[in-house]
Subunit: 208 residues, 2 copies
DNA sequence: TGTACATCAGTGAACGCGCGTTCACTGATGTAC
DNA sequence: TGTACATCAGTGAACGCGCGTTCACTGATGTAC
């Protein structure tokens, strides 16, 4: 009896208490992020509800705010997620028989302009999929977008062995993104293919 | 008395009746379209309500459905509106002192990569502003987007005097759109300028 | 001519739905004794 | 050891708001007589 009362009125402990395993929350957060990235890519910021994302991740919507401050914060994190994605999309994984012989930049370009990437609406590069949503997003979203863009620029810049490599690399990234944006937005499939192939050829020409 | 009764029960006339001047409805429709194009450009499809568009056009929202079947239909019309816009944005109107001497394609490119265009969020080219909204839009939206893209391609193709002019023109349009999309989306202003200038230089190099 | 009228552009209240967010609660789990 | 407990991830109902759309109505105007 006395013991019970003692327990009940004891001051809360200050020490760490870990009711779940340390990895548990991190894993859930990553599951949510992964679902968010896929769904935002496919349907855009306004086209996806938090309820959809959470249920795609196998959870209910109420728990969302244990992991993110709000939809905006999730969106910014989702753009960045593309970079550290542990399971890259099919178009990124494509392997030519002689893949090891081909420089990284050229493999990337071939994958970028591939039909797989064109048809992939979930795993699509966020520079393309989130092009105009980001324009209206906050600083965090733009910073995440920039990170992805800089990563691409770096790959090209390292490959180019010439003066003004950076300037050319910037233009090549623009060509990649622009070519795929136009291909994806144009109604006519033939014109889409034309955009894709023309930009692809132009980039390859510059890299060789 | 008899006359009144005769009037009251007369069958409705079949002939045209024009309660408002023939131009009146067309003018209102154009005012709505113009407001829609500006607001959609700035804030995207989901970021603008019909109420805002109508009130921007000096009307109340209820009358909207006398002019358009719904928001989607308005959006498609707004993308196309860019082409037949009677009052082009400032960045399009910019005149160099020796404008008459410079070919149309070069003037267009200079304007496209101008700081004015970069900072113009309302009059901005819809190929840039509506880049990812269109990806998720219906056939009508994509057809309108394609019309604008084809128009740009044509300008470049006519200017280029070489074999494979069309393929190069397609790549140049991709470079224009991609360069500006990246510039507008990247958080850092300096990097944005780098993208803009690099793509601009690349396009000018190809056109001369 | 003037006038009754049909038409339809435009008004503004109302409806219904979906979404972001909040909140009281549940239950799984590591810790302290 | 077993057990009471604090924590907090996760649940699901609820709230409030905004938006697309509808609808009964108003009023401006050209037409027919």
């Amino acid at each position: 009896m006395f013991k019970i009362i003692f327990w009940r009125y004891r001051r809360p402990r200050k020490g760490r208490i870990m009711p779940y395993s340390p990895e548990h929350k991190r894993d859930t957060r990553e599951k949510i992020l992964e679902s968010a990235r896929r769904l935002f890519n496919r349907r855009g910021y306004a086209g996806v509800s938090i309820e959809e994302i959470m249920s795609d991740a196998g959870l209910t919507h109420g728990g969302f705010y244990r992991h993110f401050g709000g939809k905006d914060e999730l969106y910014a994190a989702a753009v960045r997620q593309f970079l550290c994605n542990k399971t890259p999309a099919a178009w990124q994984r494509r392997r030519e028989p002689d893949a090891a012989m081909i420089p990284r930049a050229l493999r990337l370009v071939d994958a970028y302009f591939s039909l797989e990437h064109f048809d992939d609406h979930e795993g699509c590069c966020p520079l393309i999929a989130m092009a105009s949503d980001v324009q209206r997003g906050g600083a965090a979203v733009k910073a995440a977008y920039q990170e992805v863009a800089e990563h691409l620029v770096e790959v090209f810049e390292n490959h180019l062995n010439e003066p003004r490599a950076r300037e050319r690399a910037l233009a090549l990234v623009a060509l990649c993104v622009g070519g795929m944006v136009l291909a994806k937005n144009v109604g006519d499939r033939d014109l889409a293919d034309d955009f894709r192939r023309a930009a692809h050829a132009e980039v390859l020409g510059a890299l060789r």
